[in-house]
Symmetry: C2
Amino acid sequence: MGERENKKQRTRRDLADAAVGLFTEHGYDQVTMADVAALAGVSRRTAFRYFPSKEDLVMDYPIAWLQVFEESIEANQGRPLSVRIRTAGHAVAAFIQSDPVAVKQLSALAFAHPALAAKYVSSTRRWAQRLTVEIERDLDGGPEAAAHAQMLAAAVMGIIDSVCEIWATTDQPMEPLLDQGLDLLAAPLSAAAGGHS
Amino acid sequence: MGERENKKQRTRRDLADAAVGLFTEHGYDQVTMADVAALAGVSRRTAFRYFPSKEDLVMDYPIAWLQVFEESIEANQGRPLSVRIRTAGHAVAAFIQSDPVAVKQLSALAFAHPALAAKYVSSTRRWAQRLTVEIERDLDGGPEAAAHAQMLAAAVMGIIDSVCEIWATTDQPMEPLLDQGLDLLAAPLSAAAGGHS
DNA sequence: AGGGAATTGTCACTCAGTGCCAATCGTTGG
DNA sequence: CCAACGATTGGCACTGAGTGACAATTCCCT
């Protein structure tokens, strides 16, 4: 918490801001890592120390949402799974709307470029695995429970991804979308998961 | 038909085979495009002309499955959507099992490496869009039908992806997995889609 | 056989990403 | 306040993916 930590956080934000600005103005492919570093006032090498890849420059917020999602899932251990997932979704929506920066612009950027979309989607795979073990626990381990849980988790993440995408690229509010999406999986979610009392 | 087309197909296969062999033996990151090209007996530049990126060396078969899926969807225009999707899934399973090469080894490779998994998943996004318009047509255009269709398509693709992944990384047969997975979405699929008579 | 088009190889380049080392800056103890 | 220490930074050089341009080669057609 000294000057050092302070400066690091500032540099990180400078880089991310410079990236979003340059990317939206000139396009992701036309901007080099050196450009971003220069605008942020650091060397190319340092930029790579803060963000291991060019794509990561834009992934801070999406990653943060997923973290909120996971924390909310874990915070409500006792409840039925369907409720926990829905609650977590709304926590993410609240988190996003409380955010001062131009998250939407950033998200639209991420979903527009194939490389960024791929990076984002692949980062959701980790959370899908996390969701899988959660669902599996609620399933009380039948024989093919593992596969069942994995597929259900993939479906949930698919819906969450597309909710984010629709929200980022249109003007629809997030909460109704989320409810509508999760309703699609209401039956399998509540069927197998009544809380593990 | 001529010698030219013949040779091109052979070169393409040589490159893909060389890639799978080298990747499984030494690991994706340890093998360079030059290595693959050398083993296939062509220049580095030519290798890039056949496969626009290193990842694509391994994507021919996954892409082919998705194509089979789409063709089956289109071939059964009259039927209810849920039936069409299920039928298409089984068409893919049949296609895979009729395949002489070590598809499974290749698939396991693709799902193991983050870059390859990302590439594959992002390629499924195009088919999800295709599925979306199909679902949307069956929905008879309600007000928020577009979003509904997009989310449902994402869920279907999520399930298909994870079916492929489970199949590639375990010993479970594909068809039961697919049926089990699509059952999760039985309600929303059949509810809104009774064929458009 | 020979002209023409497609394919291939070579060269040179940009840029992402990384290891290494010296310089610099913030921190901490005197 | 100063010196020593450790963390951060910048510069340099390198590997490897991907691309454009052009000359050489190969196949096709007449």
